[in-house]
């Protein structure tokens, strides 16, 4: 059974907030940015959308702002991630002639094996906008949760104007289903506020994590824009999937955000005919979880304290026909003001008396 144990040990909590391994651009004496390991979930598909499996670390080239990065850990699907530090150098010649296998999206692998190790945060829109489709969406989510089988853990949140953390991340499907069926409809919609909070929760965990949003889209209450939410998702390595119906297409703002935000984070948006017709979306997400390559690298010295673009390519002419989907970059956390400060974070509660 796939467990993310190796990766868990390698990744430092708070990817861009840790106080070690800092990169200090020489041109900016007052600015520090802190970056440890950058993790990428990468989907490789052929022109028909079939997943390409069996690739090796050496098949990938990672560029951060054009700087070639060295892959530090590698995993495919539900395999445990492995460190490449001690791995022998790849046989380049052999790679050039190797034909990777392609798998149709409806993989024959058992579901419980395919999604092992993923932390899935489900976010359900219970605002007034969902009133008409509320029960059908609820059915769909229940089906989705059941279909995830033994994925490590699922959290179920719902939102309208505020976020409700109905079920924390748990392996207990019963608890999640109970939370799904306990949701209450009503009030305004603050999708981006609540998605941000969900992403922040997800970011606290190590390993592969995705947020799956069930929503028809309109937002009439958020104070943070989708741009900031998308950037946070990318910077924290959480892929966002949006499951909607064609009703969402009636509002072009939502359609645009759903398509672009999911693409930027390495996820996908789905617009089915109705909530009853989301099977393809579910299968697609499951397949993604099962077939993603997980690569991680330690960024080389990079003077850029702003947005860092990530480009992942496959090595070799034969690989050019495949499509690569992953997050588009990240923004390291600047610590101009707080760098080097002493904090009380590790202090104990003071005694009474001055």
């Amino acid at each position: 059974m796939y467990r993310n144990a190796v990766l868990c040990m390698l990744l430092v909590p708070g990817l861009f907030y840790a106080s070690t391994g800092e990169v200090e651009p020489p041109d900016s004496p007052n600015l520090r940015v802190v970056v440890n390991m950058v993790q990428l979930n990468i989907a490789v598909t052929d022109k028909n959308g079939n997943y390409v499996t069996g690739l090796r670390p050496s098949d990938f080239t990672i560029l951060e702002d054009g700087i070639s990065e060295k892959v530090a850990t590698f995993a495919e699907g539900y395999e445990p991630a492995r460190s490449l530090d001690s791995e022998p150098a790849p046989e380049v010649a052999a790679d050039l002639h190797r034909e990777p296998s392609r798998q149709p999206s409806d993989s024959a692998k058992p579901l419980n094996a395919m999604v092992a190790g993923a932390d899935v945060f489900v976010l359900f829109d219970t605002s007034n906008y969902m009133y008409r489709g509320f029960v059908f969406a609820q059915d769909a989510i229940a089906e989705f949760v059941r279909s995830l089988g033994t994925a490590d853990k699922i959290a179920f949140y719902s939102y309208s104007r505020d976020l409700s953390r109905s079920a924390p991340l748990t392996p207990d499907r019963g608890q999640v289903l109970h939370a799904v069926r306990s949701t209450v409809a009503g009030d305004d919609a603050a999708l981006y506020n609540c998605l941000l909070l969900t992403l922040k929760d997800a970011a606290q965990y190590q390993g592969r994590k995705v947020v799956v949003v069930f929503s028809n889209g309109p937002d009439n209450s958020s104070v943070v824009p989708p741009e900031d939410v998308a950037e946070f998702a990318q910077s924290s390595g959480v892929s966002v999937y949006m499951i909607s119906t064609q009703d969402a297409r009636l509002e072009p703002v939502s359609t645009a955000v759903f398509d672009r935000m999911t693409a930027a984070t390495g996820g996908k948006a789905y617009f089915a005919k109705s909530w009853r017709d989301e099977k393809k979306a579910f299968a697609s997400i499951r397949d993604d979880l099962a077939h993603l390559y997980s690569l991680a690298y330690y960024p080389k010295s990079n003077p850029n304290s702003g947005w860092r673009a990530i480009t992942v390519k496959l090595v070799g002419d034969q690989m050019k026909k495949y499509r690569v989907r992953t997050r588009q970059g990240y923004r390291p956390q600047p610590t101009r003001f707080s760098a080097g400060e002493k904090t009380a974070s590790n202090a104990s509660i003071p005694d009474k008396g001055d």
């Binding site: 059915d139 209450v184 956390q333 003001f337 009380a344 509660i349 003071p350």
Partner: protein, 1033 residues
Amino acid sequence: MQTIRCLTLIALSAVTLSSSADLAAQTPTSATETSSIQNGAPRPAEFTIPGPLRSFLRMAGISQRVAPEEVLPLLSRNVFTQGYEGSTRQTEFLILLGRYVEQARELSALAATSGMKIRVSNCDEAKPLLTILGYRAKPNCGDSTTSLQTADAERAFLTTDSGFPLPELERTLEGGPPFEYSYTGTTVPLLSAESDWTMASRKNYKENSRDLIRTVLNNPLIARLYWALSKLDPGTASFMLQSLGVGKLVPYAAVLDFYGTRILIRDGRVIVPGDVSAESTWKDLVGASPDNPANFLQKLIAKDKGWAAAYFDVLSRTSRAQQAYFTDPRRLHYFYEGLRTIDPNSAATIGSFRPAPDLLLLAARLQIQPDGEPLIPGNIPVWKEILQQKNNPRAVRMLGKKINLTNPDQLIHTMIAFSRISDSGPLPIFMALCELDARRPVGHRLSPETVRLLASKYEDYSDQYRIFSEFPQLSDASIRLFFDVATNLNDTPGAVRGNALGTFQADVGIWQILARQGQIPDAQLDESWQHMVQPFAKARSAAEIYDAGRGSLTEIFRFASGKPRPSQDEIIDLLAGPSQTTPAGKQMHLEVAGRLRSVLDGQRLVSLDTILALGDALNEKVQGKPTPDYVFHLAGELREFEMPRPIFTSGERTEWAAGIYNNHHTDQEMRTDLSKVLRSQSASHQQLEDARGELTPFLRDTLVGLNYAYYEPPGAQALHNNPLFVRSHDFAAETISGIKTVWQAPQLIGQGTPAGGGAHFVGSLADLPYSLADLEQDFISPESVQALIWKELTPGLLTSAILPRWWDVSSDELHAVALYQRSGEELLTASAKDAQLRGKVLQILSERIIPQQTGQLEQALNTGNVADVLPHLAPADMFYLTAEFQRRYPGVIASWGSASQELQDLERQHPDQVDLKRLSRDFGVPHPSLAQTYSSELLNVAPMPAFSGTSSRFMAESWDSSNLYWARLADEKGYSPVTLNHLVPELTRRMVEKIFATDFEDWPALLRAMHETGDDFRQGKLGSVTITDAVQP
């Protein structure tokens, strides 16, 4: 409002008095009969709610935490506030509730066959149940893959929204254990016999229905009457029902709803404001004697379309001293005439909220001087002028001309008349200036000229007046200087204006923080203010604004630290609080500084050091000095900021967020490149001057960012995740039309506009603590799936948690606050065994709590059930009880318990640490709307009712229990007082998460949430509410 799952939150339609029918024909009940009703109340009537109470509460929008006796009142409340659009059209909320009741009855009938249990063992048995529920089992019932899917969406919605345990049923259908669900109804008490209500409904006669729930659902007026009577003292409600009856009271449901809660009958007479000495005056006003309760009440509620009842209610809510002034025989009737002067034909019950909030403010906050006369800022002639100002509404000018003002009572009479003009007119000016003047010592009162000036500028600057109120040390000259500077800044060129206003206000904000924290000595407040403001007096160009902003900051820093040149770290260090010497103090100081820095990082602001160093370098270049290499690196910092990765094209923003997305300020910053002029060997003086001016937007942003960071509400996210938030603050209202004045509290623009680049403020920095709390509140996640953040209350709660700081509080003082609360409890407990003491205790508490609660308390004390009532009394009530008891009965030295004894000992040993003024300053909360100031104090006012508009803030500001309670917890835990700087915001956030309220004035829900938070804290369940996790946002 933390309304519960309202599908469509519809404001209450205007339910006006249907008539002002004379109730004189009613049979008055004698005083003797009144007493007998109170003493020997009949067994309460009951009604059975179909189905599980939990489901009914979910569908009716009622908190799960209510007691059974609250169910029908809250149902009634929700029906009339949310159930109707107009007077007859039912909302979706009510339609669904009606459908649910029908479904519950079908399920009850099904359960009746099995002893009120729904039992299912297999798929066949499930069929009738699934039909009612609106679900079907797919794909094959009995199979392990079986799941429930919607078959009838309408029914399924009711099923799931009411919380029917579908997962358990699904398990049975998958082949699991049998499903069993108790479906018994719940019996809840009724105010009076069911038939009293069903018979009063004309619809029921037509429809031949006698069902209570149907009656309530179909009759908003009956629902409102039920709600109104349930808020009354039980004996009084019972008396009214028996003496007048439901049918005769229904037309006055709205009057009783808005103005009934303070009506109290005791010992055969109506307790009137001003007490016994005012009875004859009230008799003259109402036309009936208070010792004839039925006659008095029926005339009170019917008189002048509710205005007499409104007047009675307002005066009932004030302190004894205020009541004595207003009910003086020379004034009561005279002032009431004032209330009836403007628009005498409109009812006092129009609208969803009670009108004339400023009438209550005037009655509660009019400053009565020791000679019994009200404080009049300036003098009477000035007010005569003010009433005739050209910008006044016409009604004001007309009245102003008509009245020959010669004495204070005439002015108050006139002001009461103006209370009928909403949100404008001279009354808000008068109240603001009263508050401002009352805090100044007798020899330092506002001059008539300054009063005239403040009144003339009120419309444009009123929110700025809080700073004058907070710091009465500021002289009239300082106030005038402020307006001179403001006028100058208003006139700066358009390209500079926003930066000029923002920079100035940010400096003022920093001064305000340091003055409040005591880092600028009291004796130097006026002088430092003038030094801080003066640099802006003539600044006009961008470079001059930069110099002024920097000069002003330097002056603030000099007064606060004695040092000549500010650095970023030192400014942050100052804002984080006064320097600490103890380990606990140092640790907490670091934490607060860390929180400030975290916001500045989140906003990706340029360091103050960089901005100042670049300014220095440009000045030196003017003098021909070479530019050191490091300066070019610093210039590079200005160009580091990047916009968030765009999701929308510019065309899409134009189409989808027209008038909202505007980042001209940030765009201008991103184009700034000082390196060229710094490298240039031939840069002219003007070019270098212009380059210095280009630093102004950066200086503004960092200074504004410091203000934002200081007032960061707990749980804030926009401050950390939207890097345009501070930069987008539009001080000059350049991005939006329709905002006339830029000096008032900021307005939130762009909320719920995804393509708008995020919400931002337009306006000034006045009221920033509240505005930020208002914006960030919805990032707090309610614990209950049904609950929403209570919008009318939460920003006020958060403000009260953010603004006060505890750097100069001793452990003895902290302990004293706890002892005051515990002594109140001991006093209450002792009163259960001492009738005389009980009378005194109840008299004191009746000034803070509503008659209904007083009645319940009295009953509990009479029967010795003190433990049952203690959780229902707020910490501020207990604090007030001790303080007021000591004041009224100073000779009574009694030890009610260990806390009382300890408090007495502490008073003897450290009288200064127990001083009430000091405790009020350190553990009170700010009242920016009620008292026009951000200085903290314990106002000791009774809970305020809900109003609409800006007056909605009265309610939250009348809650001053939280900080007292958190202090008590800290004392119990043995924490140093400085830890309150961490604990109070965090505990308040937890409390907000736990609030599960139903109506706008659900004080019990607030108290419950506070106690639950306290219990969790005591038990160590609040992991993050510790000092160890304090730094991370």
